[in-house]
Amino acid sequence: MKPMEQPADIERRAAHLKDTARMLGLAIESEQLVALAAQLCVIEALEGAELADAPPILRMDADWHD
């Protein structure tokens, strides 16, 4: 279910995040940005088949058993 994170993807992502953080003037530890990169790689890898038919909404129904 949960995709494996690929080190090269994490590295690529982390580099982008560090650039963005620098551009925005944010003081965020490199370690935190690498962890975020790994997190986003998992999310990105879900796109496609895993998230097909999953719109970005939160639907609360009271009729789960109906």
């Binding site: 279910m1 949960k2 995040l17 963005t20 953080a21 925005l24 944010l26 003081a27 965020i28 530890e29 935190q32 940005l33 975020l36 997190q39 986003l40 998992v42 999310i43 990105e44 879900l46 796109e47 895993e50 998230l51 999953a54 719109p55 970005p56 909404i57 939160l58 639907r59 609360m60 129904d61 009271a62 789960w64 058993h65």
Partner: protein, 474 residues
């Protein structure tokens, strides 16, 4: 009249009955709680603000109203604590942040207004982590063990309830912040269905994950409080138009016939300590002996919840705080600021993918509940007893994979924030050294009543709620 020291140990229902029988008054209850606060606060520091004069005046009003035959129900004249991220008109609301120092709202959060309308008395504002996230270190300590992590971010609400310095308390829960301190402080904490309780006037952490709910020492008290807090509110765009039942009405109907799922692969993974594992298995056995049907289930989509929840939380928090940080960023502690800013670097497509992952998870959860005709999922609330203070962010020595206690917390509590389902934590026992252990029930949307019924049946079969933390701190 009941002795003041005994008064603080009463539950809401018992205190309400004592007022009506003439055994006590709201004023006596309020004075007893204030005395308890005076005794415990130097050590425990559960409260950011204590509103003694207002509370005493409100207690006198409640007694006058009741004497005149105006009975608002069981919360009338009962002192409660309110987490300091809830707006309270005329009362300091600082959310643990220097950037809000001296802030006094000019209106009440809807949930506070509803509790006032039910006659409850606000005894004070309970401490929380800065902006309700984990980047700060409040001075609050749990009476169960001063050296242990007391839970968060509804840290003061949890400790006030454990210390008997409130009869009920409000917490908020974006990623377990009601259920974690409830588990650590041997309490009942309910994160009701998303939209069940209005968030209007509650300082957000992440709009689409935030919940506000009651923390109490018994299941019945929790049901009483939720009944007063819940309901549609036009001022909250996420508020649900779903009728609120009488949560207390069927609470003693027992657990017989309830279908309860357990995903052992996910919720009893190797990171669950032996004492928490045995306590959870004992809860399951007891519920089965009470007539519940416990079913082995597997929900692989649970593995998606951490990344999706964190991505959503980061981006929504960053959006709420961006303008304020521009102006007052120097007044945020560095750790909190980084936690609240990091979402600025998340690409929009990843935020949307995280929202889609949430929907994927919710659909899978719904399918599981439908397929197995489940009333609830059961799990330990958190996989470990309270770690030593400061160790909650350190890798566990018994794991060897870098997992921290906090990693384990979020594994168990995030799913219900993500799906919006109701989730309740209640006492499951104690470790041999006396640290509380909690179990969690996750239910169908808007079916909090079933969780209360199951939890009440278990509570009635055990004596956990009779145990008290040490009452003196020398």
């Amino acid at each position: 009249m009941t002795e003041p020291s005994a008064l603080v140990n009463l539950g809401i229902s018992e205190a309400a009955a004592a007022i009506r029988s003439g055994a006590t008054t709201s004023l006596a209850l309020t004075e007893a709680i204030l005395a308890r606060i005076e005794q415990t606060e130097p050590t425990l520091q559960a409260y950011a603000t204590v509103t003694a004069d207002r509370a005493l005046a409100a207690a006198e009003r409640a007694d006058r109203e009741l004497a005149a035959g105006h009975d608002r129900g069981p919360l009338q004249g009962i002192p409660i604590g309110v987490k300091d991220n809830c707006y309270t008109k005329g009362i300091l609301t600082e959310v643990g942040s220097k950037s809000l120092e001296g802030f006094v709202p000019d209106y009440d959060a809807t949930v506070v207004a509803k509790l006032y309308a039910a006659g409850a008395i606000v005894i004070g504002k309970t401490r929380c982590h800065e902006w309700s996230c984990g980047g700060s270190d409040p001075p609050t300590r749990t009476p169960w063990d001063l050296s242990r992590f007391p839970g968060g971010s509804s840290i003061g609400s949890g400790v006030a309830m454990a210390a008997r310095s409130a009869f009920g308390a409000i917490g908020t829960d974006t990623g377990g912040s009601i259920r974690i301190p409830a588990s650590i402080n041997s309490l009942v904490g309910m994160k009701a269905t998303f939209g069940r309780v209005s968030m209007h006037g509650v300082v957000p952490l992440a709009w689409s994950l935030d919940h506000v709910g009651p923390m109490t020492r018994s299941v019945r008290d929790n049901a009483l409080m939720l009944g007063a807090m819940a309901g549609h509110d036009r001022q909250d765009a996420n508020s649900a138009r779903v009728a609120v039942p009488d949560y207390v009405a069927g609470i003693d109907a027992g657990a017989a016939g309830a279908r309860i799922g357990i995903d052992r692969g996910y919720f009893l993974y190797p990171g669950v300590t032996d004492d928490v594992r045995s306590a959870t298995e004992a809860v399951i056995e007891t519920l089965a002996s009470l007539g519940a049907e416990v079913i082995e289930v597997s929900l692989p989509e649970l593995a998606l919840t951490r990344e999706a929840q964190m991505t959503i939380r980061m981006v929504e928090s960053a959006s709420y705080h961006r303008a304020r940080i521009r102006e007052k960023g120097h007044l945020y502690s560095p750790g909190t600021r980084a936690t609240l800013e990091i979402g600025q670097v998340v690409p929009a497509v990843d935020y949307v993918a995280a929202l889609r992952a949430r929907e994927r998870f919710r659909v899978a959860m719904q399918a599981l509940f439908q397929r197995e005709k489940l009333d609830a999922l059961i799990s330990p609330t958190i996989p470990v007893p309270a770690p030593l203070r400061g160790a909650e962010w350190q890798p566990r020595q018994d794991m060897g994979n870098g997992e921290t206690p906090t990693d384990g917390f979020v594994r168990h509590v995030y799913p219900a924030n993500l799906s919006g389902q109701p989730a309740l934590s209640a006492p499951a026992g104690f470790t041999p050294s006396g640290l509380p252990i909690g179990y969690q029930l996750t239910g169908k949307p808007f079916d909090e009543a079933t969780l209360y019924r199951i939890a009440r049946a278990y509570e009635g079969a055990t004596t956990w709620r009779e145990r008290q933390p040490p009452l003196a701190y020398d």
